[in-house]
Symmetry: C2
Subunit: 347 residues, 2 copies
């Protein structure tokens, strides 16, 4: 299997709209084949049939020419986590090994899991705050596959899924937001409660609950039934736009009222990243996120926001291992991570 670890996905290039506030936008569809039992009742032969059917559909629709399909035995567990860290697969999918398939497009904007909870789950990722791109890419793949596969679909309910919470559009749309100023001003709870109240799900990524590392938050729809895809995206768009406005105001507040304190936090983080000889993934994530804020606020001019966003992915354990090309334990990795970060941040 060939990974190109130093090359990050196109969705991480920091070129999308509102990149100061939004890392990426994602649209994911769940689909199941009409003639095959759903995952809880699936026999081994059923699983193999799904993998082969999807392989055929991806080949026929041209997607295999612009990406790779990894099937059983092609991905070691570390390689699998490499894709998890790149937001292209789910952790559960990687640890359950049999009759799986993972398609990843060359630019890493499209990925598809075969035999995760549903027969097929695929997503499109776009850089920045950009549902138009993410939705149209995911829909394009959906249409291609729909032309070749027969989906389990109910005229009343919509798409049928292994878990009832996904029935209907079977669509999960999400935005990955960087909200350090709302965290610093302690307004984040209020904002997140507001989003939840209108039917959205908000969670910190990298660590559950209150320990939201790096101040990165994912906002997604909770409901898939009773709303059209367009309605779901409309609600997410307007809500995230509002959250971005709040974050923008909080950043302005910080710059006007606590500028030195913010500069202190930002340059201390940069100083630690440049000084450390041993650094954990968790600490690196937090420090890089603070540096990302500094770049977004114009406090740090020598770095680009995309570089920092990319480092947030590259410093994670499986990606770092892939870059360095050797198997190592956590202690060695913490040393090599520090060296890697230092080299990337030298100016």
């Amino acid at each position: 299997m060939k990974l190109v670890p130093e090359k990050v996905g196109a969705w991480l290039l920091g070129t999308g709209p509102d990149s100061e506030f939004v890392i990426s936008t994602r649209v994911r569809f769940a689909r199941n084949l009409a003639e095959v039992p759903f995952s809880p009742r699936m026999k081994p032969a059923d699983g193999e049939l799904v993998v082969e059917t999807v392989r055929w559909a991806l080949a026929d629709s041209g997607y295999l020419n612009q990406g790779q399909l990894f099937t059983d035995g092609m991905l070691s567990e570390p390689d699998g986590f490499y894709f998890v860290e790149r937001h292209l697969a789910s952790p559960d999918f990687i640890t359950q090994k049999n009759r799986k398939g993972l398609y990843v497009s060359d630019d890493e904007t499209i990925s598809l899991m075969v035999n995760e909870e549903d027969h097929i789950r695929f997503q499109a990722l776009a850089s920045g705050f950009d549902f138009a791109t993410a939705f149209s890419k995911a829909s394009a793949l959906d249409e291609k596959l729909e032309g070749q596969l027969s989906y389990a679909f109910s005229p009343e309910l919509g798409f049928l899924t292994a878990c009832p919470t996904n029935v209907g559009t079977a669509m999960r749309a999400s935005v990955l937001l960087h909200l350090p100023a709302l965290v610093l001003t302690r307004e984040i709870e209020k904002v997140l409660r507001g989003a939840y109240a209108i039917g959205l799900l908000v969670r910190g990524i990298y660590g559950e609950g209150s320990e939201t590392r790096g101040n990165l938050f994912q906002v997604s729809n909770r409901k898939t039934l009773g709303q059209s895809e367009a309605e779901i995206i409309e609600v997410l768009t307007s809500t995230c736009r509002q959250i971005i406005d709040y974050e923008h105001k909080a950043r302005q507040f910080l710059m006007h009222n606590l500028r030195v304190e913010v500069e202190d936090k930002v340059f201390r983080s940069l100083g630690l990243l440049r000084g450390a000889r041993i650094i954990s993934s968790e600490e690196a994530t937090n420090l890089l996120a603070t540096v990302r804020l500094g770049v977004a606020l114009g406090i740090i001019n020598e770095l680009k926001i995309a570089e920092v966003s990319q480092l947030l992915v590259l410093v994670r354990p499986a990606n770092l291992q892939a870059i360095l090309g050797e198997k190592m334990d956590a202690a060695e990795r913490d040393e090599r991570r520090a060296t890697f970060i230092r080299q990337k941040l030298v100016r």
Copy 2:
């Protein structure tokens, strides 16, 4: 009153023996005038007499040509603490204002307090581990003054002092040691207990008890009675030589066994000092002390040990205030301190 805050004392030039381990060596004598009541029974006129008598003796012996005598009204309290931070006066002396005198030689190696606990207390400071220099300078002043003043002296007891703990030689000799490796390897307690057991006093400077900021320790004699000056200095010399050897071994141990961990600590400290926009005196002291270790170990090559030792004094509140030339509150000072340190550490 004229302070030259950016110019540090000759004893801080880092030129003395064993400067990697020892900041400075000090010899202090307490003396009282035979015809004047000691401080607990002294009347205002007595105090004035002592000040004038000492002024005359310093002038006549030539010391006033190579230093300044500050008397009541010449030193504000902040200026007084400027000298305390430079190890040239005691804090109690500065806060008790009337009928005081403070003589400081131009190179800040000699200082003399009039009407502290005793009528006269004077000291000589030498750079590094150097009792020969400190003792001979203090003795030279002692002889000059002795020629002009009549000291309270008992043939059986020796020099008489306001507090019985100083009677005898009335000499306090001390070494200011930087012992970061013994602290890191947790051997410091054992070493300090050993020193105490043979009659020496060991205390962390900058903060009492367990909170020894900057890993700086002062070792001094507890007894002044029953031992000659030479004997006291001999015990201190051999004990400190042994402590230096322990510290040296501990540093070698760290470099052989925990090199990356030490480098991590050292370069993180340097990164924070170069990054911070707000920094307290306490944090700066701790970080600078770690950087000093890095320089001593050859981990940091771009700085000199003397620069770092000097910064340890210059970043303290009253010295910083004197350098910047304006009265400011603690919050402003923490900002200006960060800027000052950054400028000094730029390479």
